[in-house]
């Protein structure tokens, strides 16, 4: 989780990812951020996030992203 928080704040140093719960629904992250985050996640965790995973419920908060990463690592 710590690793993930670092990754996220590298992409958006201005955000507090511990409190944001509606990163997508409120339009906090834009497509540029998502592309950067997905690219970093794929290489850091050796996973492959595909288009079916690109849903608001998987990216609205740091916990949701973490859950997605864990799920994909198990597969």
């Amino acid at each position: 989780m710590e690793e993930l928080m670092q990754l996220l704040s590298d992409v958006r140093p201005d955000l507090d990812f511990t409190s944001e719960k509606k990163l997508i629904d409120d339009g906090v992250l834009d497509s540029f951020d998502i592309i950067a985050i997905v690219g970093e996640l794929n290489s850091l965790y050796g996973i492959e996030i595909n288009v079916e995973n690109l849903l608001p419920e998987n990216f609205n908060s740091a916990e949701a992203i973490y859950a997605l990463v864990c799920r994909l690592q198990e597969e």
Binding site: G27, I35, V51
Partner: protein, 506 residues
């Protein structure tokens, strides 16, 4: 001859009042209802404002109400100026200062905090239609009256409001139809925000054909997991999208699982389209018509087009093609003469009905780029200098080469690097700063000189003034910025040493 865009709406409303005109995520409005609401809104505004050809600011969202507000304003004989409520306060204020709107219509919900009369869309459309007032407004209107103002980045730090008249938009709709043979049964999938002139095509191509427009929710573009499904659910046939939106599909390989079943006209603009991205689309949707559209806001969306008619390798350049009918496009050489030969670069200049009226309340900037044609010594013909350098290829198609200045295209937005630099340099803890755009990986680099590294403080400072898409993507602190012989920041060296070199070294 059509002289007012409302004639499109009225024609469609008369021919098929029950057809859906505009839809968003939550609902839709028929042509009949749209016309009625806009007439009510127009009557209300005409009564309240008692003025014509004045700006009305619209706080926009991706919804039908925004479009009802636009049409109401046009009925009142005034022009609309879309403003994104998510823009930083400082930037909104700069726009309001230039615009000095007669009133504000809030179509975005929440409260607008300006010292100007503000109405909700519900408020303006709840009154009666005053036919004689509307008729009087229409009878005295002319087609060179302004229709909208759209603000764009300005190198001096102040955004410029591009003012466009009815004639230019009518010309756009007619020439697009002539080139692409649109049909009444098409369903347009709107991606562009309404403060972006790409959306002008969505709105007015739709109205002029009596077609239907679907406003696609914004979050489907940041996270495209459900985007393709949405295109199919809404049976979208036609898109005018920013290149950046098409790139998202390719980046995420969004067609690997599912391909849109109804799309047949795919048109794109905003920045250079990479054939790598286009080839991905062409592989999955081989039978669609693909069109590369080129042009700045100042000439009403687009002045040239290229219908993709052959194969291109991923690393080849896609032409911007040829001028639309009733539009003059030529390349101006440094010597003030027209360039006609193949391969030689010149500044792309435009003449015709599509030219904007100028920048609203900004005669200095207007005179810089809307000039008398230097190639025409016989009468005062107005042309627009795009600042884009282009050339003819062997097939005599136009090809975009580069910019003359520091304007860039980033995530579909037009940005003056100078505007970012002015804001960064205005922060008290910054000694000097310089922005460089790396077009290969699409990143804005900020090099800054300060007492200490302070990336986060810079972002905090920018947040108040600049929209997110203008924030630098990489921050490089330096104890001293390199200078060239003329005592200016050495951009060439920064680019070579800190961007190219690092990329090579991975």
């Amino acid at each position: 001859m059509i002289t007012n865009v409302l004639e499109y709406l009225e024609r469609a409303a008369e021919e098929h009042p029950d057809k859906k005109a505009f839809s968003d995520e939550h609902g839709s409005v028929t042509y009949g209802k749209l016309e009625e609401a806009a007439r009510r809104g127009g009557s209300f505004l005409a009564g309240t404002l008692q003025e014509r050809n004045r700006p009305v600011a619209v706080m926009i969202d991706r919804n039908i109400s925004t479009l009802v507000a636009f049409m109401s304003i046009v009925y009142s004989g005034n022009f609309y100026c879309p403003i994104d409520v998510h823009l930083p306060k400082g930037r909104q204020e700069l726009i309001m200062e230039t615009l000095q709107p007669a009133c504000i219509i809030n179509a975005a919900g929440g409260t607008a905090e300006y010292d100007v009369k503000t109405f909700s869309v519900e408020e303006i459309i709840s009154g009666d239609i005053r036919e004689e007032v509307l008729a009087d407004i229409r009878n005295s209107a002319i087609d060179t009256d302004p229709l909208y103002a759209i603000f764009t980045s300005g190198s001096t730090g102040v955004p410029k409001g591009v003012l466009v008249c009815h004639r230019s938009v009518i010309d756009l709709a007619e020439q697009f139809d002539r080139a692409f043979h649109f049909t009444e049964d098409m369903i347009i999938g709107n991606q562009a925000p309404f403060d972006f002139d790409v959306s002008t095509k969505d709105i007015y191509v739709c109205l002029s054909k009596g077609a239907s427009l679907e406003v696609i929710p914004k979050k489907l573009f940041s996270l495209p997991g459900l985007l393709v499904q949405y295109l199919d659910d809404r049976k979208i046939t036609t898109i005018f999208w920013a290149v950046s939106a098409m790139r998202i599909i390719e980046n995420f390989k969004a067609f690997d699982k599912m391909t849109p079943g109804y799309l047949r006209q795919i048109m794109f603009s905003g920045e250079v389209m990479s054939n790598k991205v286009l080839n991905y689309w062409r592989r999955y949707i081989p039978d669609a018509m693909y069109v590369n559209l080129y042009g700045p806001t100042e000439i009403t969306c687009n002045c040239t087009y290229y219908i993709v008619d052959r194969e291109f390798a991923d690393d080849e350049a896609l032409p911007i093609g040829k001028a639309f009918r009733n539009t003059g496009v030529f390349l101006l050489g440094e010597d003030g003469n027209r360039i006609k030969e193949t391969g030689k670069e010149g500044e792309l200049c435009v003449r015709g009905s599509s030219l904007a009226l100028g920048y609203y309340r900004n005669p200095e900037k207007t005179e810089e780029v809307f000039t008398v044609n230097p190639c025409n010594g016989s009468y005062a013909e107005k042309i627009y200098h795009t600042g884009d350098m282009a050339r003819y290829n062997a097939a005599h198609e136009l090809e975009f080469c580069s910019r003359k200045d520091y304007q860039i295209k980033h995530m579909g937005h037009r940005i003056e690097l100078g505007e970012i630099e002015i804001i960064v340099n205005s922060l008290p803890f910054i000694d000097a700063a310089c922005c460089i755009f790396d077009s290969v990986n699409g990143r804005i680099y900020l090099f800054y000189q300060a007492g200490e590294a302070c990336d986060k403080k810079i972002i905090e400072g920018l947040k108040e003034k600049l929209p997110k898409y203008m924030w630098p993507n990489r921050y490089c602190f330096m104890e001293g910025l390199p200078m060239n012989k003329n005592g200016k920041i050495d951009r060439v060296r920064l680019k070579e040493e800190y961007i190219e070199k690092r990329k090579r070294e991975g």
